[in-house]
Amino acid sequence: MTKIKEVKNYLDTEYKYGFKDPEKFSFKTKKGLNEDIIKQISKIKNEPEWMLDLRLKAYRHFKDRIMPKWGADLSKIKFDDIYYYGKPEGEQTDDWKNVPKDIRNTFDRLGIPEAEKKFLAGVGAQYESEVIYHNLKKDLQDKGVVFLDMDGGLREYAELVKKYFGKLVPYTDNKFAALNTAVWSGGSFIYVPSGVKVDLPLQAYFRINAKNIGQFERTLIIADKGSYVHYVEGCTAPVYTTDSLHSAVVELFALEGATIRYTTIQNWSQNVYNLVTKRASAEKNARVEWIDGNLGSKVTMKYPAIILKGEKAHGEVISVAFAGKNQVQDAGAKIMHMAPNTTSQITSKSVSKDGGRTTYRGLLRVAKGCKNVKSNVVCDALILDEKSATDTIPYMEIQENDVSIGHEASVGRVSEEQLFYLMSRGFSEEQALGMIVRGFMDEFVRELPMEYAIELNRLIELNMEGSVG
């Protein structure tokens, strides 16, 4: 036991992405939020009238809505101290050469241009409030695939946006969805035409650089009949002593027979509140997968949801959370079975250490009449020391009898026996602990594209630095 404690001391997280650039804005709204600021944002973007109306309605709802009374402590968020919109200098481009030097350096250090060359079909890079770089491979453009930032989507595909925007996550959904709808900027708009398979992942990278700025990107993905798309997002920010707010809304529409896989590797610095609403709908024979990794941030509250609307739709959530010192990872999944013969699987793995707290909060609902539904939920938590904690709160609401629903959860620590076994095979205690933690998260890592799997393994190793090798 004491030995494990010693090892624990090495497990201090070193955040690799904490560097920052000078703050250079071509425009920034005043601190705080009011209707004038929202009108200003909308005007800069030269938006249609209906979007401004929606923003204002959402803002009024946000003002009146009380803070959620459950989950993590959000009382320290000072809405008046945040900048809600900041446009970095430079215009959006599809050539890295045209990106301002500081910003380009940042993305170089994050390895984005290199990754794009090697294994991505398209990349969007968002810096503060605006997407500064956007590119999609030519052959996909020719097939009719649309991959734009959300503002571009609204400009060029107004009808599609109007049809789908806010239909899964209305601004009345929760306080932070209202805030996002009021001040959204950037994010991705993706349309994959019927039958088109996008073989390589599309990636978006979100970077907050300035102090006290909020990032409120909005993502909408529509996968038409029988299409396939894999979208990957990553996020980092510099370390500041004051808090930042990231509050995104993501809506996925998988039409008949389509598959959407959405992978997140969230690695915000530990001064970011990460409060995100993610929801997907799956029509007949469609498939939606959320692969959700939460390593960074101060507080994360995020429960990717899937509404299985059509027969034989399948939903899957694989969620991994790593909570270190002063971190709260309140994550989970929601699956609503609204049609017969639908299936789902939720796998959640969490590790807490150095006083961190992880929570699995989930909902599984089977509506009346949805026969032959199968669902299985597995949540496992690992606690590495006595200061850390974990909660498991699964809701199961089953209104149909012709179903098969299972839920299992377990909490434990790394057992002395496992450590002893590995050490008897010649590994040091540090190596053994690292191996066990990586093995515990394997189900998640296995689902990532190769390059990300390597990256994630490296991140876990960094988080456990000193304990490995």
Binding site: M1, E386, I398, N401, V403, I405, G406, G412
Partner: protein, 242 residues
């Protein structure tokens, strides 16, 4: 050890203390009570609820004391047990079932708090719901900071016998210590058609087959009881699924 047996058919209301080194059997149908278990005492609590009544029990366990609950709910407005394992060596075991039909609604809560280290708990709740009956099960395992070397398990299984039956289940874990083994499991589904088919090939009607399966489903709970109580529980069970 002193062994006492108390059969209370009416409401039990108020505070009760079980003396050191004493074992107490309680049989009851409803009530609202605080139960204090002194050092090294033990209680077997049998609850058979068949009127639309409430049962709430808050148990507080001192060092090395043990409490076992056995319950069968046939008609219940509310059933709630809160068990606090306040000192080392304490143990709690709960085994119970509910059986609903028509428009019955079951509201069942089991909360276990492991306050100190070296404590153990185990909860098994099985339910069968016919017609338009509903259940709402909330089971919480809480392990306080410092309550190391604890072992706890909670499981809730539900059989839905009709299209209109509904089961809500929220088994939760709140863990503030690391040297623990805590887990829970829950399942919701309908009876296995193959099992029913097998019994029907042996000459049973569908109804009889279902009845046999339900009896078998509850058997692990009922078999733990002594003869007298087994007869009592079985009688209530048979009457309900006739």
């Amino acid at each position: 050890m002193n062994i006492l047996k108390e059969v209370i058919e009416k409401d039990i209301i108020g505070d009760f203390t079980v003396k050191e080194n004493t074992h107490l059997d309680i049989i009851s149908t409803s009530g609202n009570l605080n139960l204090y278990l002194k050092k090294n005492s033990s209680v077997n609590f049998y609850i058979l609820q068949n009127k639309d009544s409430e049962f709430i029990c808050n148990a507080h366990l001192e060092r090395d004391s043990k409490i076992n609950y056995f319950f069968g709910l046939f008609n219940s407005k509310k059933f709630q047990i809160n068990t606090n394992l306040n000192d080392e060596g304490t143990e709690s075991k709960t085994q119970g079932f509910f059986l609903g039909n028509s428009n019955q609604n079951f509201d069942i809560t089991t909360n276990i708090t492991h306050v100190k280290k070296n404590t153990t708990s185990n909860i098994l709740v099985k339910g069968v719901l016919f017609d338009k009956s509903k259940s709402n099960f909330k089971g919480k395992i809480k392990i306080n900071e410092g309550a190391q070397n604890t072992n706890s398990y909670l499981s809730n299984h539900n059989l839905l016998m009709s299209d209109d039956a509904e089961a809500f289940s929220i088994p939760s874990l709140k863990i503030d210590a690391n040297d623990v083994r805590a887990s829970h499991g829950a399942t919701i589904g309908k009876p296995n058609e193959e099992e029913i088919f097998y019994l029907m090939t042996r000459g049973l009607s569908r109804k009889e087959a279902e009845r046999l399966i339900i009896k078998g489903y509850f058997a692990p709970v009922i078999n733990r009881l002594d003869n007298e109580l087994q007869t009592k529980f079985n009688k209530a069970l048979t009457a309900k699924i006739r």
